[in-house]
Amino acid sequence: MSTHDHTEEHHTGLRAYAAVCLALFVLTAVTVYVAKFDFGDFNIVVAMLIASIKAAIVALYFMHLKFEDKLTWIYALYPLFLLFLLIGFTIMETFTRVPVIK
């Protein structure tokens, strides 16, 4: 499955795409509904979890990542690792600063 020539069709038909689209609509409704409740610090965790499920569905099915080779997967996931470093270390650095002048 690692190599494709361009005439090989992705195994996703109208029905499957419609189901994917419907799932994304439902998840959008869920995230709007869930936002009405206050989970404190977990608000952002819940919202990002639902958004990431939606993003994964878009990437896997609409963008055909499911049918892509390993190299494409690596290059699709690598930026997410860099993003993790960027956001993670920015936050860590900011909140562990020792005030010099106070």
């Binding site: 499955m1 690692s2 190599t3 494709h4 020539d5 361009h6 005439t7 069709e9 992705h10 996703t12 038909g13 109208l14 795409y17 419609a18 994917v20 689209c21 994304l24 609509f25 959008t28 995230t31 709007v32 936002a35 608000n43 952002i44 919202a47 990002m48 639902i50 958004a51 939606k54 993003a55 878009v58 990437a59 099915y61 609409f62 963008m63 892509e68 190299l71 494409t72 290059y75 699709a76 690598y78 930026p79 997410l80 860099l82 993003l83 960027l86 956001i87 920015t90 936050i91 900011t94 909140f95």
Partner: protein, 205 residues
């Protein structure tokens, strides 16, 4: 499974190795570019994370001024446009020119609808004297949605070019449909970024 070379050579339409390799290389190149796009927005996401952690109350109070209904409608519009774009790629693979043009047009119209919606949203904000310099939340709101809007416009330009190419018969039997698939990848990324912007800005602040 045979290698790409054997596969392409034995292929019924008689395409050379070049076509299959070009197709895969173009797709891979787009994935690489999308990686840089994620990091472009990543800088703004990092800024958002930082300032939200520093000023949670300001973010909470400010986000309530955004219209969740308009944001949700735009989310649905963009997801639907991704759906029609995915179908357009299918239609191009099946060499169905009429459906390809219809589906690309629907995708284009969805992009335009998103833009119109956003225009009303921005107007309402300006009307209430909310500007990018109002506070850090709105600075990020205008910057992130503005940069995203720019991507929607670029995507619409690509889709418009694809419609013209389809009209000229560029994706007929025997021709590559690579531009449709690669253009589709770009459009899906625009949807993907909005999937994160919507909850971050409209729902939780």
């Amino acid at each position: 499974m045979s290698s790409t070379a054997e596969h392409a050579e034995s292929h019924a339409h008689g395409h050379g190795l070049g076509d299959a390799v070009t197709h895969n290389a173009a797709k891979f190149g787009m994935w690489l570019f999308l990686g840089t796009e994620i990091l472009l927005f990543g800088g703004l996401f990092a800024a958002y994370a930082l300032f939200r952690a520093k000023y949670p109350d300001l973010f909470y109070e400010s986000h309530k001024k955004l219209d969740v209904t308009l944001g949700a409608i735009n989310t649905i519009v963009l997801i639907f446009s991704s759906f029609t774009m995915a179908l357009a790629v299918s239609a191009s693979q099946k060499r169905n020119r009429n459906w390809l043009m219809i589906l690309l047009s629907v995708t284009f119209i969805c992009g335009a609808a998103f833009g119109v919606n956003k225009y009303f949203e921005y107007s309402a904000k300006f009307h209430h004297h909310i500007f990018p310099d109002t506070n850090i939340f709105f600075a990020l709101y205008f910057m992130m949605t503005g940069l995203h809007m720019l991507h929607v416009f670029v995507g619409m330009g690509i889709i418009f070019a694809l419609i013209i190419m389809a009209k000229q018969g560029r994706f007929k039997e025997g021709n590559r449909y690579t531009p449709v698939e690669v253009g589709g990848l770009y459009w899906h990324l625009v949807d993907l970024i909005w999937i994160y912007l919507f909850p971050l800005l409209y729902l939780i602040g």
